[in-house]
Structure formats: C-alpha cells, structure tokens
Symmetry: C2
Subunit: 255 residues, 2 copies
DNA sequence: CGTTCGATTGAGGAAGATCAATTAATGTGG
DNA sequence: CCACATTAATTGATCTTCCTCAATCGAACG
C-alpha cells in the first residue's frame, strides 16, 4: 500500500481558526493587488474588456501573450483531438492564463470569459525581459505556475476520491473560497455556469449536479435566491466544507 | 456490444505517419539530452541515486531544491489533509519534479522512486541566478512547467470523459509513449506499480484495473510476459490508442 | 513450508448515467 | 403585449457501470 503516516503528520499546521482564515484571505487579496501593481509598473499591459462568451484565446492559436485577470471570471476549456471537451479550470482576479501555451508555442485550450471580464495581456518575451530587470516579477510568475500545478493535482484528487455529492460541495466551497480571497461577497453567489457545464467540470451528468444541489438545499447548507436557480445563498461556508468531507468521515466511522 | 466492427474501424484511422511519430520521439530524446547537458554546464547538480520506495522529497518538507530525473521512474503522490492520497503523476527521464513547492515554500506532495533512479537536484535560487546568465535555462524551466500544466489538464479530461477500460488503455499508451520518447524499448514494459496503485492513479478499484487488463489481453492488444503479471507485452501501440478511444467511436456510431 | 502479498475472477449491490416528463424562464416575432 | 419556441432546471424510473465482498491461486520471502 501507499505509506501515509509521516508526511500527513508533518504537513499539517495547527487548526486554522476563523481569524486565521480571514488573515489568509486578506493576505491573498494583498498579494493579488501587489502583483497587478508590479505588472503595471514594469510592463504596459494591453487591457481588454470581454463579455460572457468571448474568448481570451483559443486552442491552436499561436502563443505570444500571457494574461492576468484584473476582474471577472474565465473558464478554461480543454479539447481533445477526437472532439471531447471539458471545463478544466476556473480563473478569478489575479490568476494567470495562457501558461499552457509556453511549451509548444500554441495554446492547448480555450479560455472563455464567463461574465464581463478585464484581462491584462503581455507579450511573453517582454515579460521575460522585464523579469531580468525585476526579479520580483519572475517570482510572481513562477509562483503562479507552481500554484496552478498544485491546484490541478488537488482537482484530480477530488475527481478520483470523492463521490458526486461531495464533489459538488467541494466545487461550491472552492468558488466561495476564491471569492472570499478576493474580498468579494460570499453569502450570495451567482454561478456563471449551467448545470451541464458544472457537471462537465466535475465529471458527472447535469442531473447528478441538480440532485446534489437540491440535496444541499434540503439540508439547508445552501439556499436558492430568486426563481432562476443560479443564484445560491451560502448560509455557512464551513458546512459546505463539511459536506465535501462527509463521505470520508462516514467511511472512517466504519473502521 | 459491437466490438469487432468498431475495433476494426478504429484501427485503420489515418494515423500520423509512423515516420512522423518516430521523428517526434527522436526530437524529444534530443531535447531531454540537451536540457540535461545545459543544466550540467551551468550548475553543479547534486546527483542522488535512489532505490524503489525512496522519496525524492516529501509533502511538507521545506522547498529549496528542484529536481530533474536523469534515469528511472518516479511517482507523485498527493495527499489531502484528511488522509486521502492519490498517485497524481508519473515522471520519467528529463522530467522536472518539485515545481509544486515554489508557490508556498513547501512541497505539497511526495515524490517516490519506483525503481533505481538517478535525480539531479539544484537549489532553486542557484537555478534562478543561472537563468539570469543563460536565458536558455529559463526557457527549459518554463517549458517544463508549461508542459506539466497542459499534461495535468489532459489527465483530468481522461478521468472525466473516459470509461474505466479506456482509461486503462490510455494509461498504458501514455507509459509506452513516454518510454518511446526516451528511446527505451516498448515492446515489453514493466509496470512498476501494483494494480492497486494503477487504480488509485486512474480513479478506479484494483479489480477494475485487473479486469480491464485481462480484457485487453483477451483482445490480443497486450500480452503478459512471465507469470508475474507485471511485465506486459505491447503487440501494437496503435491498437492501444484505438482501445482508449473505442468507446467514443461507439458513441459516435449511435448518432 | 507456511505466511503474506499481489492478481484474478465471480456474484451481488450501489452510485450514478440514461431516458423521459414537467415546469419555469427567456427570447422572438407578430 | 401576447402566443410560441427555446433553453435550463428539476424530478422520477430504469438501466449500466463499476464497486464491494469473497474465494482462489501463484509467487516471493523469511
């Protein structure tokens, strides 16, 4: 089997109290602001305003630019040669997009705005040149790439080890957390994806997403605002995190 | 089901010419050699020889070094706070590991040798300093990170859109392709993972992996060498790719 | 030479997919 | 402003895939 004990023990930090959590959120917001400021100071970002459905870039397009979101939401859509496609990531303010294009000089996925969105774009070569003058720029770029790698692994783990209900809860938790870190309101969130898109992202059908959301609402973890059921009331973010891990807790009970 | 027809159909899909494919493989092998040479020329890699089961690094450990495989095989094992763990990646000669640690100054996963393995390790700060003197170094680093991001997305897509049998075929195809690109033999490969580990990596149980392999053997796409069924004979790598996409072809037929 | 571990295979069950019907919301053209 | 078409979401019924549980077998190892 896989050896679990040592690393799990050493890795984990003392309990994150709510205050701690709020600190972490403030710190993230500060870091995002600082990064954007740094970029603005050393490069001339080309600013673009996009509307829901507009592509930032598309798969196959020649890679020249990297992009950072200054506002809005973007989905990353991966497509296979045979036509399968999947929402492979969600991006928020401060996130970098287009990093996948560096390797082969072409973007390997679509990046689509999910709402009114402002992106700052830089030529990759100009960025590298600027990094030579300002090492802090290189640090933030590497941090962004590193974070994306770590994040993708966590997504894979959710897909592989959590049952459908928990994946939906985890998805909401991630969305809420992403908003909180950017200082946006989280008591009521607007999902900018259809049930079908959420299902595609989470590896399940739209019916399963719908049932999972209904169940969370029945358990009063979330609620629906308005009759268009895209606006979701998050009564208790911690309950969401709990719902995401409930099946694990249940499994542990049986030991 | 309708195997015989679809299998035959997928087999004669107009493949990128074998010659093309061989070119791509040679190019990859050349690039890996060049990267290792570049690293050796500009840094003093600390070489380490590891044996199966030895960690290159572990989750939670302080990040200081990046590592490149010069020989052998490494698995990346991600672990969640609640104890879930998953094989999240497989690494071969020329691959970089530890990139996930840059963001927060700590590794977020374990990297474990799956066989006798030689890793070259560099201090991250020394590497960055060297990049300033030699831009080609920065290029290969960025390319490695970019490739990993793109690759992880493809893995996610396999997990989400392919049924179990196809995921196993795709896993073997990936392994064979990785070996081919490094100039290693691919007619017979030794899986360095138990069925349980493969299943963990692919998001299924060990029994499902076993059944999928048996089925591929029954269809003569693969064979078993020796009675310890870890050595696998790959009769036709293209047939493997076909098996990975068969379910899609079948679905398209029904339209 | 027994013990343990990994792999295979079968039988039964459960999670989630598929199919289908209904409702609500949104948009369109008259 | 209203009939009408279209799209999204919900919910139920059924079916399939894959998981769970269990038995067996071979190989490796002390």
């Amino acid at each position: 089997m896989l050896q679990t004990t040592t690393a799990a023990a050493t890795r984990h930090v003392p309990m994150p109290l709510p205050a701690r959590e709020a600190d972490a959120h403030r710190e993230t917001a500060r870091a995002i602001g600082a990064t954007l400021e740094l970029l603005r100071a050393h490069l001339e970002p080309q600013r673009r305003l996009l509307h829901a459905g507009d592509p930032v870039y598309q798969a196959g397009e020649r890679f020249q630019m990297l992009h950072v979101l200054n506002a809005g939401f973007v989905k990353i859509v991966n497509l296979a040669a045979d036509g399968r496609e999947q929402v492979a990531g969600l991006k928020f303010r401060g996130d970098w997009i287009g990093l996948d294009g560096i390797a082969d000089g072409r973007y390997t996925c679509d990046a689509i705005a999910m709402d009114t969105t402002e992106v700052w774009s830089f030529r990759y070569d100009a960025l590298i040149a600027a990094c030579a003058r300002e090492p802090a720029l290189l640090r933030v770029l590497h941090e962004a790439m590193s974070r994306e790698i770590a994040r993708d692994r966590d997504s894979m783990m959710s897909l592989c080890t959590l049952p459908a209900d928990a994946r939906v809860a985890e998805f909401l938790r991630f969305w809420v957390d992403s908003l909180a870190r950017r200082g946006l309101r989280t008591d009521q969130i607007t999902l900018r994806m259809t049930r079908a898109e959420i299902g595609n992202y989470l590896g399940m059908t739209l019916e399963t997403v719908s049932r999972a959301l209904s169940k969370l609402a029945r358990e009063n973890v979330i609620g629906f605002a308005g009759s268009a059921r895209r606006d979701i009331l998050v009564h208790d973010a911690h309950a969401l995190a709990g719902a995401a891990q409930r099946p694990l807790a249940a499994a542990a009970m049986l030991q």
